[in-house]
C-alpha cells in the first residue's frame, strides 16, 4: 500500500515530465532522422525561449494567486521603446536600462492597484494592459520600427556562443535565477505564503502589500526582457509583437502547476509547460500538420492536463 502511494506521489510530481518524454518519443518515431536531432532540439529550445521567459515572470504573480494580464502588452511596449530609443541614438546600455525601468513602472502600477487597493488583479492588469498598448501605439505611430539597429543589440538574440543559441542561454540563465529566487530565497517563500493564505501571511509578519508589489514588478521585468529579445531577434519592433504570448504563457504556467510541486505554480513547471508547447508546435510542423490543427491539439492537451490534475486532487 505504502509503495503504491509513493508511486502515485511520484507520478503526481513527474507525470507531466513523463508526458513530455512520451510526446518526444512519439514525434521521434513519427519522423525519425528529422525530429530527434541535436540541431532540432536546439531549435526547439530557441523557439520556446521567449515564451518561457515571459511565462516565468508571470509565474511569480501566479504564486501569489493573482493574474498579470499586462505581460504581453509590456513585451510589445518594451520592444517598441528600446528600438525607439536606439533610433534616437541613445547608447545601448542606457536604452536597455530605461526600457526595464519603464517596465518596472508598469509593474509598480499594477502591483499598487492590486496590493494596496485590493483591486482584483484580473481587472487592474487588464486596464493597465490597455493603457500600455495605447502608449505603445502612441510612441510607434502604429508602425513597425526597423532598420538602423546597432549590431550589439541584434547580437543579444542572434549569436550562438559555444554553439548554443543566445535565446536558449537567456532562457536558461533567467530560468535558473527565477527558480532559485522562487524556491530558495526568503522572498520566494513569502510569495508562496501570500498565495497560500494572505491573512495568515500578514499575521506571520510578511509585508503582504510590498511583497505582492514586487511580484508584479518581477513579472513586468521578465515581460520586458522578452520584448527586448524579440525585437533584437527580428531586428524590428511591432506594437502588437508580444500579443500572442499572453494565452500561451498562461497555458505554460497551468501546465506547470501539474508538475513538481503538486498543484502550485513553480518555475521549473512553467519551463516544462513552455517546452511541451514548443515541442508540440515543432513536431506537428515537421509532420506538416496545419497550424489550426496545432492550436486545437495544444488547447486539448492543456485541458487534459488540468483535468488530470483536478481528478488527482479528488
Amino acid at each position: 500500500m505504502v509503495a503504491h502511494n509513493a508511486r502515485l506521489a511520484l507520478l503526481n510530481r513527474y507525470g507531466t515530465l513523463v508526458a513530455l518524454l512520451v510526446i518526444i518519443a512519439g514525434f521521434s518515431a513519427a519522423s525519425p532522422g528529422v525530429f530527434p536531432s541535436l540541431a532540432n532540439f536546439l531549435a526547439i529550445s530557441q523557439q520556446m525561449a521567449l515564451l518561457a521567459i515571459i511565462a516565468v515572470g508571470a509565474t511569480f504573480v501566479m504564486i501569489i494567486t493573482e493574474f498579470d494580464l499586462a505581460i504581453s502588452a509590456v513585451a510589445s511596449f518594451a520592444g517598441i521603446l528600446v528600438v525607439t530609443l536606439l533610433h534616437q541614438a541613445v547608447p545601448l546600455p542606457l536604452a536597455l536600462g530605461l526600457t526595464l525601468l519603464a517596465a518596472a513602472g508598469v509593474g509598480t502600477a499594477s502591483g499598487f492597484l492590486v496590493a494596496w487597493f485590493r483591486v482584483p488583479s484580473f481587472i487592474a492588469t487588464l486596464a493597465i494592459s490597455t493603457i500600455v498598448s495605447g502608449l505603445t501605439f502612441w510612441i510607434s505611430g502604429g508602425a513597425t520600427l526597423f532598420g538602423h539597429l546597432p549590431a550589439s543589440f541584434l547580437a543579444l538574440s542572434r549569436g550562438a556562443p559555444g554553439g548554443l543559441p543566445a535565446l536558449s542561454l537567456w532562457m536558461a540563465g533567467l530560468g535558473l535565477v527565477a527558480a532559485w529566487a522562487a524556491a530558495q530565497t526568503e522572498w520566494g517563500r513569502r510569495l508562496y505564503a501570500i498565495g497560500g493564505n494572505r491573512e495568515a501571511a500578514a499575521l506571520a509578519g510578511v509585508a503582504v502589500a510590498r511583497d505582492s508589489l514586487s511580484a508584479f514588478i518581477a513579472s513586468a521585468l521578465f515581460a520586458a526582457i522578452c520584448g527586448i529579445l524579440l525585437a533584437a531577434r527580428l531586428g524590428s519592433a511591432h506594437p502588437t509583437a508580444g500579443d500572442g504570448f499572453l494565452l500561451e504563457a498562461y497555458a505554460a504556467i497551468f501546465l506547470g502547476t501539474t508538475a513538481f510541486k503538486e498543484g502550485e505554480p513553480n518555475i521549473f513547471g512553467t519551463l516544462l509547460g513552455a517546452a511541451i508547447i514548443a515541442v508540440l508546435a515543432n513536431g506537428l510542423t515537421i509532420l506538416n500538420v496545419p497550424s489550426y490543427m496545432q492550436d486545437i491539439l495544444t488547447g486539448a492537451i492543456i485541458i487534459i492536463s488540468v483535468l488530470l490534475r483536478a481528478l488527482r486532487q479528488r
Binding site: T185, Y192, A193, N197, A200, A202, A204, V208
Partner: protein, 499 residues
Amino acid sequence: MQLATRHLAARYGDHWALRDASLTVMPGRVHALVGENGAGKSTLIKCLAGLLRPARGQILIDDTPATIAGPRAAEARGLRFIHQELGQVPYFDVVENAYLGRRYPRKGLWIDRKAMDETVRQAAALIAPDLALGTPVSRLSAGERQLGKIVRAFMGQAKVLVMDEPTAALGTRETGRLFEVIARLTAAGVAVIFISHRLEDVLAIADDITVLREGESRGSFAANQLDRARLIALMSGRQSAAAAPPRPARPGAPVTLAINEVVLRPGASVSLTVRRSEIVGLYGLLGSGRSRLLKSLFGAPGFALKPPADIRLDGKIFRPASPAEAIRAGLALVPEERRSQGLFPDLSLVENLSIAHLASFRRWRWLAMPDRAAERAHFHAIATALALVFRRPDQPIRQLSGGNQQKLMIGRWLRRPPRLLLLDEPTRGVDIAARRDIYTEVRKLAGGGAAVLFASSDLDEIRELADRVVVMRDGAAVADFARDAFSTMDILEACYGRT
C-alpha cells in the same frame, strides 16, 4: 425518527478513520458524541450526511437499512447538519448563506427575497434574535458566523439535527440560548446529535453519550451515569491527568505589558498589565473585544492603534503598525481561526513553521536565503518538544489533525521565544492530549520569562492556565481576578454586568 448505525466503518484511501461505530439516537433526546481528535466523530457525521460512503456497516432509519446518497438525500430525510468546517460564501449575508443549495422562494420571475428574509428571521428568532442577517458574513465575527450556520440548520422540518462543535465559537450567552433551543426541539420530538470537546457543555445538555476512541464506539451511556473524570478516562483510555501544578506567584516581577485606558470602542476603555512570567486570561462574551484587543496589540491589518493610545512594552510606548513590527519587538500571536488566519494549508510543515522567522535561517547574513538543513533541524527540535504527530516534515500541514496544526501554530513562535505571547482561543477544537501539550508549552514559555495574554471562552481553560483573569465586556476591561480569588460565578457575573 430514530437513527442508528451498526458497525459502521469508513476510510480515506487506506486509512480507516472509522472502524466500528454503533449507536442509536432516539427521538426527543440529545445524543452526545465525544472522543479525542481523530477518534472518528467527523467521519461518522460525514457518512450520515452522505458526504462519505461507508465501507462497511449499516445506517438504520427507524430500524430500516438506509442509503444516504448525498447531502440532498440527507436533507430530504429530515437530517440537518451544522458542520464544523462548512464553508460560507463570504460576500453572501446570513440569509443568502442559509439558502445556499436550497430552493429559493419565487414570485414569478423574481426571487422572493422578502419570503427568504422572513423564513430566516423566524429561524433566527429562536437562537440569535440580534444577529445581523443582512450583513455579508465576511464582516461578521467567528461567533456570529457560527450562529449563521446554526440558523441555517434550523430552517425547515428537521427530524435529526447534527451539530459538530456548535459551541466552539460561541460565548456563554449564545451557548445558553442554543441550549434553550435544543431543549425546545427535543421536546417537539427532534433527535439531536451533539459533538463537542467541551465536556461541560456535553454534560449540561446530553441525555445519552457515546464515546468514540480510535474509530470505534466504546459504549453508550446515560449522561447522568457519567461525570467529567469518567468521561475523560473513557475518551483517552486512561485516567484523567492530575490538575496542573500551581505556578509560583511572582508579584514583584517587572511589568512587560501595560495598557492604560486604551479605547477600543467609543465609551469603553481597557486597562491591564501583564508581568514577566505571568499568564493572564481574557474572558468575555462574544463580541466583548477580546480578539480585537489582541489583534490591536499585534498591529494586525485594520486593527493597528494610533496615538494617543497608551500601550507600553517594558515601559516604552508601543504601537505597532504591522505584525512585522510587533514581531521585531518580541511579540507573537496565535490567532483565533487557525484555518483562515494561521495555516498555509498546502505548504509543508517546515515552511509553516519557519515563516515568521525566515531571516533567522540564513547561512550567510547578507543573502536572504534560508538554509533548508537548518530549518529542518529546527523543525525536528520543535516537533520533539511539542510531541507533534506527523509523517514527513515536507507533508502539507492540511493533512495534520487540528491539535497538531495548533501545536505548530505555537511552535512557529519558538524560534525566538517571545517577550509577550498572545493567544486567541489557544485550544479551540483541539483534543485533550494535544491540549495538555499546548498548556505545558505555554507554561514553559512563561517560566522562561514570557508574559502571556490569552483569550478564551472556555472557563475550564481559564481555570487551568491563567494566573489572573481579566474579564471584558462591551470593549472594556471590567474585572480583574487573581488566581486564588476567582470563582466561576465571579467571572460570569462580571461578564453579564452584575457586579
